[in-house]
């Protein structure tokens, strides 16, 4: 503790912090960004490897040959579905029973908080159908799930056919030690959420569902399948789940092993992986993949049914069949064999997947970056906030005794409650007030919600003019007229650092993205200097603008750039989806931004317009 108690060293440290503050901050910020960009290069990125012994040492011989049967089932399913318009529950039940499974159904219904424009639904009700294949000699304590989400926009009939054919094949084997649940859900993610909640006997999202009649034990792993054609050229895998949670890396390694074994092409984000990481091309493409993964993880959306399984600690992946213009095509047998291999290996598990990484970034399908190597990037960014806060504290101390009491003079804390109240209004009012808005304005409910969001967001910008009036009656200390805004900025910096730190721990991508944009302008905000420039910068880095910017970046990286008008439309749709997902699945992006980061950003706005 010499540093904290020795006065000589303290004085030296204080001088260092005060004099070299700006260069240190800039250096730290650049170091953070540079570290992130360096993540794609070989020492920081490693090849993936199978960590779980139970899945690595044995090889299986796949015997699935039910391609024709799968196609027949698929055609039947598609026909029945077209006839009935919804999921053909009776047909599914009959077929699953004929294949030899224990069949159960579950009905669910949900009234969304406001109509969903992208999926065109408001009052959703449907039925899930699932069949359980009981392990012949085990006690039904553990299970695996193969799920096919059927929505109204994606019929997914080939996947249903493959599911049934696999069920028929699996039924004839004797080596299953875990039960296998074959789940077909309606209204894709909503049905999956209803099934999962009923299975685990919780109710986190307000879904009304009938209780499950049959269960199969603790789910060890799940695979979600989406196929849209009879032949595929490659299988695409999606890992990002709800709130940025990721499955255990071993599951991804398993998928890759079996694709390689069967000669099946596997892709990540629709693109083939570069083989050559020594020259510059590999890392550059890796950077593109990494940035896309960061954006997808930061959005906190479940990119597939698997995303909802992760919340219940069930490792899950979504496999999508892609039918592109490649010449060599694989039929359903190849896909079925890959799935059979995966399930057989998962059958060997003695305990839950825990050996490999849970928190990682993927520059490529066979390359990963572990948390220990990517965390310093956000650490450097938050160090900027810490340095700035320390400098402000020392300046306040020099100016005059610092804050007299921990509560501080009333001045700096005046903008805190209004900012927090604006955040609360942003969270609560749009959904609550949508009916009032539709009565007075000629807009649909979804538009009303989005427009109310934007209106409240913009209204917060007018806050400084209202909160500063009571201050003008207070006696301003003549010794240090800057004390007020410096104290407020200190509090705001600590608040921002705390929030970004907590966010980065649970969802690194979101924390990093927000830190990249908000940290520089937060450090720069002050009432003196070019006010319009700072104001413009602050608005450009506010949470909503970050969202808009990341949408453009996302489409740019996918090589489908947006025009301004399209981008704006997409932004509005993303806002609506964000609010909706918070209410239907419990996604945390909307509450974090509205209740946490927006009030914090408003504090900096208040600092900028301090009188």
């Amino acid at each position: 503790m010499g540093l904290l108690s020795d006065p000589v060293r303290r004085r030296a440290l204080a001088r260092l912090v005060l004099r070299l503050n700006a260069p240190l901050c800039v250096l730290s910020y650049v170091a953070g960004i540079a570290w992130f960009l360096a993540l794609v290069f070989p020492p920081l990125t490693q090849r993936t490897y199978m960590s779980e012994n139970a899945m690595g040492s044995t090889m299986v011989e796949e015997q699935f040959a039910g391609g024709d049967r799968a196609r027949a089932f698929a055609r039947d399913f598609a026909a029945h579905r077209k006839k009935s318009g919804a999921l053909p529950v009776a047909w599914l039940e009959r077929t699953m029973r004929s294949v030899g499974l224990e069949v159960y159904t579950q009905s669910f219904s949900r009234k969304l908080p406001f109509p969903d424009e992208t999926h065109e639904r408001y009052m959703v009700s449907g039925t899930n159908v699932y069949g359980i294949l009981r392990a012949p000699r085990a006690a039904s304590t553990e299970s695996l799930v193969l799920t096919v989400p059927c929505g109204s926009d994606s019929t997914n009939s080939q996947a249903v056919g493959l599911l049934l054919a696999l069920a028929a094949h699996f039924r004839g084997q004797i080596y299953w030690a875990k039960d296998i649940v074959f789940l077909v859900t309606e209204h894709d993610l909503l049905g999956t959420e209803a099934w999962l909640e009923a299975y685990h006997d919780v109710n986190v999202t307000g879904m009304q569902s009938s209780p499950l009649q049959g269960r199969a034990g603790a789910i060890q792993a799940a695979v979600a399948l989406e196929l849209s054609s009879d032949v595929v050229t490659s299988l695409d895998v999606a890992v990002e789940g709800l709130n940025g949670q990721l499955p255990n890396l071993d599951l991804l390694n398993l998928f890759q092993t079996f694709c390689q074994k069967g000669g099946l092409l596997c892709t990540l984000q629709g693109k083939l992986q570069p083989e050559d990481w020594t020259s510059l091309d590999g890392p550059l493409q890796g950077l593109q993949t990494l940035l896309l993964m960061v954006l997808r993880q930061a959005s906190g959306r479940p990119h597939g049914s698997h995303g909802l399984f992760l919340r219940y600690r069930v490792e899950a992946l979504t496999l999508r069949g892609i039918n592109s213009f490649r010449q060599y095509k694989y039929d359903l047998v190849a896909v079925g064999k890959a799935l059979e291999g995966m399930f057989r290996k998962l059958n060997h598990l003695l305990e839950r997947l825990h050996q490999s990484f849970f928190l990682y970034l993927l520059p490529g399908l066979s390359r990963f970056v572990s948390i220990g190597l990517y965390m310093p990037a956000v650490g450097f960014l938050l160090l900027v906030l810490g340095l700035k806060a320390l400098e402000l504290w020392m300046q306040l101390h020099e100016a005059g005794m610092g804050l007299e009491e921990p509560g501080g003079a009333p001045g700096p804390s005046v903008p805190l409650p209004p900012s927090q109240a604006m955040g609360l209004a942003l969270y609560v009012l749009p959904v609550l007030g949508q009916h009032v808005a539709t009565q007075h304005f000629p807009v649909a409910e979804a538009e009303a919600v989005v427009l109310t969001l934007l209106a409240i967001y913009a209204a917060g910008l007018a806050l400084p003019h209202n909160t500063h009036r009571p201050l003008s009656y207070r006696v301003v200390s003549t010794q240090a007229p800057d004390r007020g805004w410096m104290a407020l900025k200190l509090v705001a910096l600590i608040y921002l650092a705390l929030q970004l730190g907590c966010i980065a721990l649970t969802n690194f991508s979101l924390g990093f993205l927000l830190a990249t944009t908000m940290v520089p302008t937060a450090a720069l905000a002050k009432p003196h200097g070019p006010r319009t420039l700072y104001a413009a910068l602050l608005v450009l880095t506010s949470p909503a603008a970050t969202l808009l910017g990341s949408l453009f970046l996302w489409r740019e990286l996918q090589e489908a750039p947006l025009s301004l008008a399209e981008g704006w439309q997409l932004f509005l749709a993303a806002l609506a989806q964000g609010v909706l997902e918070h209410h239907t699945y419990g996604a945390l992006l909307f509450p974090l931004l509205s209740l946490g980061l927006y009030p914090c950003w408003l504090l900096f706005w208040n600092v900028l317009f301090w009188k």
Binding site: S5, P7, F358, A389, M401, I494, C502, L505, T506
Partner: protein
């Protein structure tokens, strides 16, 4: 002074009643930062039901309270909520009067020493005035009521006798003894403080997470070294602070809260409630910014890392334990900072505020 105290008590009771009936009650009573095996209400209920069935409550390592608690709550189980609220209110009142008496003693002593010319000539700004000391008892009562009510009222029993199973009251008796010798009429005050810590004490302060049962209450040699810490400091502190027993008691309570097994938020709240009494030391605190940041950051990270460990399954216990240790370090540094500030003020009082070295430049005080 009575009216603000009554207002504080009324508001505190209302908030507690509201919290008891809200949906937060169940959520908070499950949190590990608030409930520990030494102080969990669920375990008391478990022990009571075992007693009703005729089985010894101590069979099975669930119940860790004293027999007095069992018999007390046997009759009061239906009024548990009321008992908690009344005890909390009584604690606040007791602290209020205790601190008021203490302030009177301090002021009298200060006047005596001024008249005896014990103070250096230029320490006028260090002398405490009745004006600034007027609201301290109220602030202490306030701080005692509110943090504890948010967290502890729902989950722990407001009796700290069980929490002193391993850390008995002996560390608190030296300050009690010293204080009694010094000032007979103040022995009542000291009794108040001692009893308050016992009767109201919210359980433990630190966030040592769940140890194995054998390590917990057993006299496992490794854990013995940690517990001995509680006793180590008593005698040296008693020697150094023999003229300031209340400050000694404050430090001792803090040390007990830090080195306790199964600490919870309640213990931290207990000694932090005493901070307004030492407000005048604020200008001598050196690291208050860093320490406040450490403590706030750790408090916020507790639930995040708990979530990551238990619910997301991605982190492991090491993350949570690391934050526990950091929180402890922060607390230790805070207490040592207060101690340093206290000693420094005493030094200034007797040697003058503006010290010059032999060549006339401003001198620096170094703690050796």
């Amino acid at each position: 002074m009575a009216a603000p105290l009554v207002l504080v008590l009324v508001v505190a009771v209302t908030v507690r009643a509201a919290l008891f009936r809200s949906s937060l009650a169940e959520f908070i009573s499950e949190r590990v930062e608030v409930v520990s095996p030494l102080s969990s209400w669920k375990r008391v209920v478990e022990g009571l039901s075992l007693l009703d069935l005729g089985v010894s409550p101590y069979s099975g390592a669930v119940f860790h309270e004293t027999p007095l608690i069992i018999y007390l709550f046997h009759f009061l189980i239906d009024y548990a909520e009321l008992v908690f609220m009344i005890t909390d209110a009584l604690t606040a009142i007791a602290l209020y009067f205790a601190i008021q008496d203490f302030n009177k003693v301090v002021f009298k002593k200060q006047k005596l020493l001024l008249e005896l010319d014990q103070y250096a000539p230029d320490v006028a700004e260090l002398i405490r005035t009745p004006m600034e000391m007027r609201y301290i008892p109220l602030k202490v009562a306030l701080l005692q009521c509110f943090p504890q009510c948010y967290f502890s009222c729902l989950s722990d029993i407001p009796v700290s006798v069980p929490t002193h199973l391993v850390c008995p009251r002996t560390p608190l008796s030296p300050p009690a003894a010293v204080h009694t010798c010094e000032n007979e009429e103040q022995s009542l005050l000291d009794l108040f403080l001692g009893v308050c810590h016992d009767v109201c004490g919210k359980p433990s302060g630190n966030h040592l997470p769940l140890l194995l049962p054998s390590q917990l209450l057993g006299f496992h040699p490794r854990s013995l070294w940690l517990y001995i810490n509680v006793f180590f400091y008593t005698i040296p502190l008693a020697i150094k602070l023999k003229e300031h027993p209340i400050f000694f008691m404050f430090i001792q309570i803090a040390v007990i809260a830090i080195f306790k097994s199964y600490p919870t938020v309640g213990d931290v709240a207990l000694y932090m409630a005493f901070f307004p009494v030492w407000n005048h030391l604020y200008r001598f605190l050196r690291n208050i910014f860093v320490l406040t940041c450490i403590i706030i950051v750790c408090s916020l990270l507790f639930p995040v890392l708990w979530h990551l460990w238990i619910y997301a399954g991605s982190a492991n216990s090491n993350f949570f334990y690391a934050i526990t240790l950091t929180f402890n370090v922060g607390q230790i540094l805070l207490i040592s900072d207060y101690f340093y500030a206290f000693l420094r003020r005493e030094y200034y009082l007797t040697h003058g505020l503006y010290l010059t070295a032999k060549d006339g430049t401003e001198a620096m005080l170094v703690l050796k």
